[in-house]
């Protein structure tokens, strides 16, 4: 009932049709996007390590999170080997996941539901490691949306850095509700 009432009110009150603007003509950022991407991520509290080979991932994660034992590594291990950890996701200390695409202008990494393994995992893990192929960098959000398909899966997210807040006197605190740290392993 209210649906019809609202739509009727809009029809009555809306202005005459204004054409949609032409798609935004965005600037390119040149060929090598990695330095800008790394700088953007470091600015928001992320740590970036550039790896030559994917085989170095596990050792790098261990080195960075030496004290931690509950590491759910979905990049090197198949999903079922982590089932026990997933069962009590809130106790996972480090989750290692693969990102689909990185945005140089802001350090954001795009992941869809299947990349997250479970929707809550990148948020509930204490620390997050994202693996990203250097070839999968785009300059800006415009380039990102030109490549990704947001309808392929039920959920997707851009993650730019560890969770943070400045709600107490504008003091930046890393580690609000989501991951307390973000390590990005850039491959290539």
């Amino acid at each position: 009932m209210s649906r019809q009432q609202i739509l009727d009110a809009i029809r009555k009150n809306k202005p005459e049709l204004v054409a949609a603007p032409v798609p935004f003509q965005y600037l390119s950022m040149g060929e090598d996007l990695a330095p800008a991407f790394v700088a953007a991520l470091e600015k928001v509290g992320g740590v970036v390590v550039i790896l030559k080979e994917r085989s170095d991932i596990a050792a790098t994660v261990q080195e960075h999170y030496q004290e931690m034992t509950r590491i759910a590594d979905f990049v090197n291990h198949p999903r079922n080997s982590n089932q026990a950890l997933l069962h009590d996701a809130a106790s996972i200390e480090v989750a290692v996941l693969e990102g689909q695409l990185g945005v140089a202008e802001n350090g954001a990494i795009w992941m869809q539901e299947s990349d997250c393994i479970s929707r809550a995992l990148p948020f509930i893990t204490q620390h997050l490691v994202l693996v990203l192929d250097k070839k999968k960098l785009v300059a800006s959000m415009h380039g990102a949306y030109a490549q990704i398909d947001t309808t392929k899966e039920g959920f997707g997210v851009f993650i730019a850095g560890p969770s943070k807040t400045a709600d107490i006197e504008q003091s930046l605190v890393i580690g609000a509700h989501g991951a307390k740290s973000l390590l990005v392993l850039l491959i290539g």
């Binding site: 009432q5 945005v103 350090g107 899966e153 969770s163 989501g178």
Partner: protein, 463 residues
């Protein structure tokens, strides 16, 4: 959770009593404004982005019914249930009904100015449901039983020592502790328990995409995601103006939103919800609550372009020195002052006058709303409708009368120069003129410009 004052001048008077605190508040917000400037200047196509965003919103508003229906159709096709609410009451009833259907008693909510506007929390609490605001700033004001004072920085008016006292009382932190890192960590542990135990999650919506039926929620803390992904039911509440036509438009809006809001390139999390996860329910409540009326007001229609970044508040010299609560509305600051009178002209007649009309708000607005111009137009509208403050109305009438007649004007000038010389405190510092309480006039000139000019030309002739 209600406001202590219902008049901006009265509330502001209290706020400015503590000069040191006012200065602190002013500087905290200016710091955010300066961050916004720095990052905006690093984006070479910033102005083009603002123009594009404004044009997309202009187009969307002119075709809003079509886009809302497209959004609804797509969302339903993806297994999401869509509800429509004409006003705040219906919105609250829908949310309560949905929660009752699954027997949800513990709710976690991420930031949603719409649910503040609709006063959802007290409504749910009255019906035996626990609502926990999970954004850190919102949790702080909720524990203090206050409304947020800023749409992006809800606790910007509170000092860390006060947060320390509050958390000592409610979360058992050490007495006297005021380190933001320590306090944030305590809130993290406290709210993790709430997330894990919640029956349902309520979030706002930053952008709803007609093309796909999906919606985007932006946070830095990750609270919207923890809530929505861990609970069996996710209810997302949105005003009708949140819809945008295409996914590609998000490129424009996400580049503008966080840069304008806090000077970040993007929020930590930009979450794209499309379908409910297996075994869970997802609902969207689309709310009018006066927005269609605003759409019909030609002079104020553009206010519906707002993406709730808060930049106009951070820059506003009045907001910075009077605090968010002085606006006695869910949305404070310049944008609140043009949205609120649409909902209730009588209650919010004071707000468009709480501005210097300096235009800084319009300069920083990422969707180029002519905010200061709308403030000016609201003043006229409110006066026409008989809602302007009585003193202001009388003064304007007298001024109009005098200014309309050259004779009266010339006479009043002469009289004023005499009177002010004899009684210098009469006009500016009198009780009738609140503006003059902290101000003095410059010395009164001997003659008017007109008299001086006539004198000059007669001297010239005589030479």
């Amino acid at each position: 959770m209600s406001f202590t004052h219902h008049s901006h001048p009265d509330a502001a008077k209290d706020f400015v009593q503590n000069t040191e605190r006012m200065k602190w508040h002013d500087e905290a917000l200016w710091f955010v404004r300066a961050k916004r400037d720095r990052i905006a200047h690093t984006v070479p196509d910033w102005e083009e982005l603002r123009n594009q965003a404004s044009a997309i919103k202009q187009h969307t508003l002119s075709n809003l019914d079509v886009y809302l229906q497209q959004f609804e159709e797509q969302a339903i096709a993806h297994g999401v249930q869509v509800h429509w609410a004409a006003d705040a009451r219906e919105h609250n009833e829908i949310v309560l009904k949905l929660l009752n259907q699954v027997g949800a008693k513990k709710i976690v909510k991420s930031k949603s100015m719409l649910t503040e506007e609709c006063h959802l929390n007290p409504w749910l609490e009255q019906h035996g449901i626990e609502v926990v605001d999970t954004d850190l700033g919102e949790r702080i004001v909720q524990l203090r039983k206050e409304p947020p004072s800023h749409i992006v920085l809800p606790a910007i008016h509170i000092k860390k020592e006060e947060v320390g006292e509050l958390f000592h009382e409610f979360l058992g932190t050490e007495e006297g502790a005021s380190d933001p890192q320590y306090l944030t960590n305590a809130a993290r542990e406290h709210l993790r328990q709430k997330f894990l135990a919640a029956d349902a999650a309520i979030t706002g919506v930053n952008f709803a995409i007609a093309e796909t039926g999906g919606f985007v929620v932006c946070t830095n803390e990750g609270n919207a995601d923890l809530g929505a992904h861990l609970a069996k039911m996710h209810i997302a509440c949105m005003g009708i103006e949140k819809v945008i036509p295409k996914t590609a438009d998000l490129g424009v809006f996400l580049r503008l939103l966080a840069r304008s809001a806090t000077g970040q390139a993007i929020t930590t999390y930009s979450s794209h919800f499309l379908k409910p996860a297996q075994g869970t329910e997802m609902h969207i409540v689309i709310v009018d609550n006066g927005r269609t009326t605003q759409l019909g007001r030609e002079a104020f229609r553009n206010s519906l372009k707002c993406i709730r970044c808060g930049a106009c508040m951070n820059t506003c010299p009045v907001y910075r020195r009077s605090g968010g609560h002085s606006y006695h509305n869910a949305v404070a600051g310049p944008i609140g002052a043009i949205l609120a009178p649409n909902i209730d002209m009588k209650e919010y007649a004071d707000l468009p006058f709480a501005s210097t009309l300096c235009g800084s708000c319009s300069d920083v607005c990422p969707v180029k709303i002519d905010i200061h111009n709308q403030l000016y137009q609201w003043r006229q509208e409110l006066t026409r409708e008989g809602y302007a403050p009585a003193g202001k109305k009388m003064a304007m009438k007298m001024m109009g009368n005098v200014l309309a007649s050259p004779k009266k004007y010339s006479f009043s000038g002469k009289l004023a120069r005499k009177l002010l010389k004899w009684f210098p405190k009469l006009s500016v510092n009198g009780r009738l003129n609140p503006w003059g309480r902290q101000r003095d006039l410059p010395d009164v000139p001997e003659q008017s410009f007109r008299e001086w000019y006539q004198q000059q030309s007669s001297q010239k002739q005589s030479r």
